[in-house]
C-alpha cells in the first residue's frame, strides 16, 4: 500500500463575545489603566472580577478599584515562549495578587531569568502602549520594589465602555485521512472511484471510511465502482451560492454508482434542469487537472428500473 496522505490544516475562528457589566467594566478599565475587582457578599475582592460569587453563586457587581502593584503568589519559568503568549522572549508565568485584591490574576512577568523571580516578590503592571479593552492591555508585569500604588477609587463607570471582544484563535494541524480515505483520494487521482466492501453485509461503501456502520466492522476489500450510475433522488437549487460560479437553477442529486451500496452526491448538468428524473443514467465529467468529478451528465442509456435502485434511496 502506498503512503498515507497528509496535508496541513489550519483552523481559525474569530469568536465575537459579548461582555456582561462586570467584564465590560474590567476590560474598559484596562484600556484606561484602571484595574477593577468585584466585591463579594463577604467582602472579598476578586481580581479578575466575575459576575457570580464562586462560593455562593450570588450575582455580584460591586466594582472596586485595586492597585496596579501586587505580589507574586506562584510562578513558572517559561524559557521557550509559544505563539500568542504575551512576550516573545523567555519570561515567567505568574499569578499576581494585586494590592487590594484577595485573588490572583494570571499573566506574564518580564524578568531577566528564573533567578530573578520568587514567590512573594513585588511586581507592577506594565501597560501596553496601544490598548483596546482586552486582557492583553496589560503587556506584562515587571519587578517593582516601591510602595503599593494608591488606587484613585474608580467606581467602574466609563464613557464609551467596551461591550465585546473578538477572541481570535488559530490552531495548526497536520490532517491525515487514514487508510481507507487515502485509498479513495489516490484512486480519484487516476479518475477512478473506489469503495470498500463490508465482509459481513457485502455492502460497498463510497467514499469508504474504513468501517461498516451497520455491522461495526472494518471494511478492507477495495472495489472499483461506476463510472456510470443512477440518479436516486435530486433537488433543484434556485439560489446562487456565494463564490460558486454555477448558473441557477441547477440540479443536485444522489447518484448510485454501478456496484456501490449507497449513493454519493453530485451536480447534474448537460440536461435541462426540469428534465432530470429518478432513474436517469449518468456518468462523471472530469475537467482538466481536477481531483474529483466536476459534475455528472446523462449517458443516453434508457432509465434504470426502479427495482434496481430502490434499496439505495
Amino acid at each position: 500500500m502506498s503512503a498515507i496522505l497528509k496535508a496541513p490544516l489550519t483552523v481559525e475562528f474569530p469568536f465575537t463575545r459579548s461582555l456582561g457589566p462586570v467584564q465590560s467594566a474590567f476590560l474598559t478599565g484596562l484600556r484606561e489603566r484602571v484595574v477593577l475587582g468585584v466585591r463579594t457578599g463577604d467582602g472579598r475582592v476578586l481580581v479578575p472580577p466575575v459576575e457570580y460569587d464562586p462560593v455562593t453563586a450570588e450575582e455580584i457587581r460591586d466594582l472596586v478599584e485595586v492597585a496596579p502593584t501586587g505580589t507574586v503568589t506562584t510562578w513558572a519559568w517559561n524559557h521557550e515562549p509559544r505563539r500568542g503568549q504575551p512576550l516573545d522572549r523567555p519570561f515567567a508565568w505568574v499569578l499576581v495578587r494585586l494590592d487590594g485584591a484577595d485573588t490572583a490574576l494570571l499573566h506574564a512577568l518580564d524578568a531577566p531569568g528564573p533567578d530573578a523571580v520568587r514567590t512573594g516578590m513585588r511586581v507592577r503592571v506594565r501597560w501596553a502602549e496601544e490598548r483596546s479593552g482586552a486582557i492583553t492591555d496589560i503587556a506584562c508585569f515587571e519587578p517593582y520594589d516601591g510602595e503599593p500604588a494608591e488606587p484613585a477609587g474608580h467606581g467602574g463607570a466609563f464613557d464609551d465602555a467596551v461591550t465585546g471582544i473578538v477572541a481570535a484563535a488559530r490552531l495548526d494541524y497536520t490532517y491525515s485521512p487514514g487508510r481507507a480515505q487515502t485509498g479513495y483520494i489516490e484512486a480519484l487521482g487516476d479518475r477512478r472511484i473506489v469503495g470498500e466492501r463490508c465482509p459481513i453485509c457485502r455492502k460497498v461503501y463510497v467514499p469508504p471510511r474504513g468501517a461498516c456502520p451497520t455491522c461495526g466492522v472494518a471494511t478492507e476489500e477495495r472495489v472499483e465502482v461506476g463510472p456510470a450510475g443512477t440518479v436516486t433522488t435530486f433537488c433543484i437549487v434556485n439560489i446562487k451560492a456565494k463564490n460558486l460560479d454555477i448558473e441557477v437553477p441547477y440540479v443536485y442529486a444522489h447518484i448510485a454508482l454501478d456496484g456501490a451500496g449507497l449513493a454519493l452526491h453530485g451536480r447534474i448538468a448537460g440536461i435541462p434542469y426540469d428534465r432530470v428524473r429518478m432513474g436517469l443514467r449518468v456518468e462523471p465529467v472530469w475537467t482538466e487537472g481536477a481531483r474529483y468529478p466536476d459534475h455528472y451528465r446523462p449517458t443516453g442509456e434508457p432509465d434504470a428500473d426502479y427495482d434496481t435502485y430502490k434499496e439505495l434511496l
Binding site: I4, L9, V11, F15, R17, L19, Q23, L27, L46, V47, P48, P54, T73, T74, W75, A76, W77, N78, R82, R83, G84, Q85, P86, W93, V94, L95, R97, T103, A104, L105, L106, H107, A108, P114, T119, A134, I135, T136, I165, A167, A169, L171, D172, Y173, T174, Y175, S176, P177, G178, R179, A180, Q181, R209, G210, A211, C212, P213, T214, G216, V217
Partner: protein
C-alpha cells in the same frame, strides 16, 4: 417497571475493559480505524453483540483532531444500525461512564458500552488545550497546559510538600511500573530531561499520544453472567472547582476530596488507586486529599505518566482499576479521573470485587 428491585439500588459493574497500545502518532489510522479494534476486543470479552447493548456513551474532543462532529464518524465502529440509544460527552470518557452509570441506575438499561479516544498527533496539544480556558481573561494569553501545571507545581513546592527530586521520583516510579503494561507509551527507565516549564521537566509531564479505551457496564445478575468477577461500582461522584485559576488554592483539590467522600472512599481502606495525575505534582496533591498512605498500590499501570491519551486517560484509570479486580489482584480499588487545567474537574469511583 416490572423489576422487583428499586432502580436506584441496582448494582452496576465494570465487566470488561480494553485499550489500544498508546503511541506518539497513529497517523495511518482515522479515528474510527484506531477505535474499532478496542470496541471489538471489549465486546468479544463479554460475548455481547451490538444488538445486546442497551446504551452507548462516548467521550472525545473535536479540538484534538481539528474536525467538527468527529464523534459521529467514530460511531461507524459501533454498528449504529438499526438505530441505537447513544450519547456523547465532550469530555474524558470517565464522564461518559458516569452518564452510562446513571442510565443503568434508572433501570432504563442493563448493559452499556462506554468508549473514548483522542488523537493528539495531528495538532499541538499544548496549544489546543488553551482553548478550553476562560476566553476573556486566560485564552488570549495562550497559557499552555504545561505552564499551568508548572504554576501549580511551584505553589506546591513553596508549601514544602514536595521538591523537584521527589517529583522526579514519582515519574520514575510510574514509568518503572509501566514496564509491566504492554499498552503504555513510556516504559521503564526514562530520563528526567530538561525543564519544559520550570519547575516541571519532561519527566514530570505526560507523554503526548494517541489512544482509545472502552469498557462494558452491566447491572445486577447480567454482570455476573458476563464476567467471573465483576468490578462493582460502589460509589461514583464528580465535582468541579471555581473556573478562575487565581481564585483556587492550587495546592489543594477540594473537588476531589468531596467526590471521594460522596463516593464512599473512606468507608473502608482501598488496596489500589488509579489516579489520573498527568503531572507528577498532581499525584502529591491527590494522595494528600484522598488520604492514601504507603499501603495503597498507586498507579500500578504507570498512570498518566506512562500514557495520557487525552479524553481516554481518565476512563483508562477506571478500566485499569476494574481489570485488577477482574484478575483478582484487588478487592477494593479507587479510580480517579481529571479534566481541565490544574485538576479543575475530578471524578472518583470506588470499585469492589465479590468477597473471596
Amino acid at each position: 417497571m416490572t423489576r422487583e428491585e428499586a432502580p436506584g439500588d441496582r448494582d452496576i459493574a465494570v465487566v470488561a475493559f480494553a485499550q489500544t497500545d498508546h503511541r506518539r502518532t497513529s497517523e495511518e489510522l482515522s479515528e474510527v480505524e484506531m477505535l474499532m479494534p478496542v470496541l471489538h476486543e471489549v465486546m468479544a470479552s463479554t460475548g455481547l453483540k451490538t444488538a445486546d447493548i442497551d446504551f452507548t456513551c462516548s467521550g472525545s474532543s473535536d479540538y484534538l483532531a481539528g474536525r467538527a462532529f468527529s464523534f459521529t464518524l467514530a460511531l461507524d465502529g459501533v454498528g449504529a444500525w438499526p438505530p441505537i440509544s447513544e450519547s456523547h460527552v465532550e469530555m474524558d470518557g470517565a464522564w461518559a461512564l458516569y452518564e452510562a452509570w446513571v442510565k443503568l441506575r434508572t433501570g432504563d438499561a442493563d448493559t452499556a458500552l462506554v468508549y473514548s479516544y483522542g488523537k493528539s498527533s495531528p495538532g499541538s496539544v499544548r496549544d489546543v488545550l488553551t482553548r478550553q480556558l476562560d476566553p476573556y481573561y486566560l485564552a488570549p494569553l495562550w497559557p499552555d497546559s504545561v505552564a499551568l501545571a508548572a504554576l501549580q507545581a511551584q505553589a506546591l513546592i513553596d508549601t514544602g510538600a514536595t521538591d523537584e527530586p521527589a517529583l522526579a521520583a514519582i515519574g520514575a516510579r510510574s514509568r518503572a511500573d509501566a514496564a509491566a503494561n504492554p499498552h503504555a507509551q513510556l516504559r521503564g527507565s526514562v530520563p528526567q530531561g530538561e525543564y519544559l516549564v520550570r519547575p516541571l521537566r519532561t519527566g514530570d509531564c505526560p507523554p503526548i499520544g494517541d489512544g482509545a479505551a472502552a469498557v462494558v457496564l452491566a447491572a445486577g445478575e447480567r454482570a455476573r453472567e458476563l464476567c467471573d468477577r465483576p468490578a462493582w461500582i460502589r460509589g461514583i461522584d464528580h465535582r468541579v472547582e471555581a473556573h478562575g485559576i487565581g481564585v483556587r488554592d492550587l495546592t489543594d483539590s477540594p473537588s476531589t476530596r468531596i467526590a471521594a467522600e460522596r463516593a464512599g472512599v473512606h468507608e473502608r481502606p482501598v488496596d489500589t488507586a488509579e489516579l489520573h495525575a498527568p503531572f507528577s505534582s498532581q499525584e502529591v496533591i491527590l494522595r494528600k486529599v484522598l488520604g492514601l498512605d504507603e499501603s495503597v498500590c498507586v498507579n500500578p499501570s504507570g498512570g498518566a505518566s506512562a500514557a495520557n491519551p487525552i479524553m481516554a486517560a481518565g476512563l483508562i484509570r477506571i478500566g485499569e482499576a476494574a481489570a485488577r479486580i477482574h484478575r483478582g489482584e484487588s478487592d477494593r480499588a479507587l479510580a480517579h479521573a481529571t479534566s481541565g487545567p490544574c485538576l479543575q474537574q475530578n471524578l472518583v469511583a470506588v470499585l469492589e470485587g465479590d468477597p473471596r
